[in-house]
């Protein structure tokens, strides 16, 4: 066999991972298998490769902070079951009902509020498909706009803390989970505001796309007291979870546990949780956590393998040699994220792409917290773009209307994906948006 250096093996393994994943091999299996083969070829010893595997399997997720994943998942699943989505929607809707496109803005605002108590976009997408779609259709909003706004605003779920994607990035980049949460707050609110501005503009310039009539007064109005009552659970959870982390009273893990416990208590008080629901929440949280943690184990092997091959360092040197600066690097990175987003889920993108670029970003003097926000927004654009937009698929499967096709949802979500890109550019250009609260 001709002598092939570790760097060549490293680069070949990246290509192989991409090809295998694209063909449909399970993402963690692709990462793990290629890593084992890569280390085996580089060191010419299978026992070292298996050792890497055994160490990653036993240690990679054995970290106290990883408990945030099942805990925040539980909290999100509980608040979805308890009907908090419906309550925040009622309040948000009341505020915007007199404006053209108001139901769209109400959906965005409700999503932003709901996002502050759940960590996943998928939960938001399925809750608001059921809650806000019927109302928008009743008031004759455009079909594509209605589904588009639900899919589009669901991305707020993973940006406004708590956010499972921020947790995952925090581990990849060895940053504090609390810092990553806080970093996502301003960009998340900014994105929600930009969605609303976008809706106003669309209602003005493309009224046919937005559609809708101003709400009649047949719907009940809510008094301030009723609104407070509906918002109380969210306020309690936000104060406990984010306040706890921001004030330094609790760690992110404890905040997750407290949030899940409070959500459970709220569910019991509202009599909205059966034993069966509760058990389903534990099982579901276990499923999602296990698949995410298994992915993290495999990604841990992969980044160790790349490290052994020296790929990130070489990549960094190569970029410097090309006279690249931080700006060019980030442009390339965002393009990679968006392309990866067409075939991969957000967690996989973060785990595969971020370690490759991190060394170079630090080398160019970029901040890793800021880079994390860029990573999460960039990877999340993929939730809305074909062929594998997970939020779009979630809306499709939660919708009970065969006349609305996947194409309709992708078309409706497109303006929102575009607004995300604009906000991403702002976040890149003004790091203070991410770093102000830290």
């Amino acid at each position: 066999m001709a002598k092939v250096g570790p760097v060549e093996i490293g680069i070949a393994s990246i290509i192989l991972v991409v090809v295998l994943i694209y063909c449909g091999l399970y993402v963690p299996i692709a990462l793990g298998t290629v890593s084992v083969i890569g280390v085996w070829l580089m060191r010419d010893r299978l026992d070292l490769a298996i050792n890497l595997l055994t160490v990653s399997v036993g240690d990679a997720v054995g970290d106290y902070n990883f408990a945030t994943i099942p805990l925040f998942m539980m909290m999100g699943l509980l608040v979805s079951k308890v009907g908090i989505g419906r309550d925040v929607y009622d309040v948000a809707n009341d505020a915007f009902r007199r404006i053209r496109g108001g139901l769209g803005m109400g959906t965005v605002a409700a999503n932003a509020l709901f996002a502050s108590v759940t960590g996943s976009s998928i939960a938001s997408a399925s809750v608001f498909t059921r809650v806000s779609m019927p109302e928008m259709r009743r008031l004759k909003y455009g079909k594509r706009f209605s589904v588009g706004v639900v899919a589009g605003s669901s991305v707020l779920g993973m940006l406004i803390p708590p956010s499972v994607m921020m947790i995952i990035y925090a581990f990849v980049a060895e940053q504090s989970v609390g810092h990553m949460f806080l970093a996502g707050l301003i960009p998340g609110v900014l994105l929600a505001v930009c969605f609303c501005i976008g809706i106003v503009l669309m209602a003005h310039f493309t009224p046919g796309f937005v559609g809708g009539v101003i709400a009649d007064d047949s719907n009940p109005q809510f008094s301030l007291l009723q609104k407070l009552h509906k918002l109380a659970p969210v306020l309690i959870l936000v104060v406990a979870v984010l306040g706890g982390i921001y004030g330094g009273v609790v760690t992110a893990t404890e905040a997750g546990a407290l949030g899940a416990l409070l959500a459970l208590i709220i569910g019991v008080i509202k009599r909205a949780l059966s034993w069966r629901d509760l058990w389903d929440v534990f099982v579901e949280a276990g499923y999602i956590s296990a698949t995410l943690l298994f992915l993290i184990i495999a990604a841990n092997m992969y980044s160790r393998m790349l490290g052994i091959a020296g790929v990130p360092t070489l990549f960094s040197e190569w970029l410097t040699g090309m006279n690249f600066g931080l700006n060019e690097l980030i442009v390339v990175y965002v393009v990679v994220l968006i392309i990866a987003g067409t075939v991969l889920d957000t967690a996989s993108i973060i785990l595969i792409a971020a370690p490759l670029f991190m060394t170079a970003v630090v080398g160019f003097g970029g901040d890793l917290v800021w880079f994390g926000v860029v990573t999460v927004i960039g990877a999340e654009i993929g939730l809305l773009t074909p062929p594998l937009g997970l939020s779009v698929f979630t809306v499709k499967s939660a919708i009970d209307d065969p006349s609305i096709t996947l194409y309709d949802i992708f078309a409706g979500a497109f303006p929102f994906a575009f607004i995300m890109l604009l906000v991403l550019i702002a976040v890149i250009a003004f790091p203070v948006l991410s770093l102000a609260l830290i």
């Binding site: 449909g24 091999l25 055994t54 106290y64 009273v249 407290l258 416990l261 943690l293 967690a347």
Partner: protein, 176 residues
Amino acid sequence: MGMAANEEPSAPVRVLYRSLAILNITGALLVMSLLVLINTDALGRTFFSISILGVHEIVEMSLVAIVFLQLGDAVRSGRLTRSDGLLTILDKRMPVVARSMRAFFDLVSVAFLMLIVYGGIPRFIESYQGGEFKGTAQLFTAPEWPVKLTIVVGAIATILAFLVSAWREFRPVARH
């Protein structure tokens, strides 16, 4: 997968699915205990200045165990992360190719998990015989071998789940 799911599973497959469900339930119970344990510790420390010894160690080991307790059932229910855009297209145009690829990928997964088992068994024996533990001696210690055993058992269950999945890709064809 949709076609196969309608079929009544044969006896050995039923036994496997039952076992996967038991592992899954154990995992869900562990998730639940994380919630109780971390809250008790945090609340106890805040209000009564009492903290539970070894919470960190127990949580860390539970996380590893949860992965391998749930993995097999996640594979059975088709929830392991994959990008199936190409496979979906091939399903319509070249169904045999799509099925072969799915089966091949399941077998690659079997091979990968066999390496986990191969590396995991000596680790289990080592931790059992060596009395390895996590924590600080005299304050709190928890033996490591139950987790190492869970990894091996969970990986074997997952291998079986993948084998059933691969086998099912070809059953509808074999019938014609």
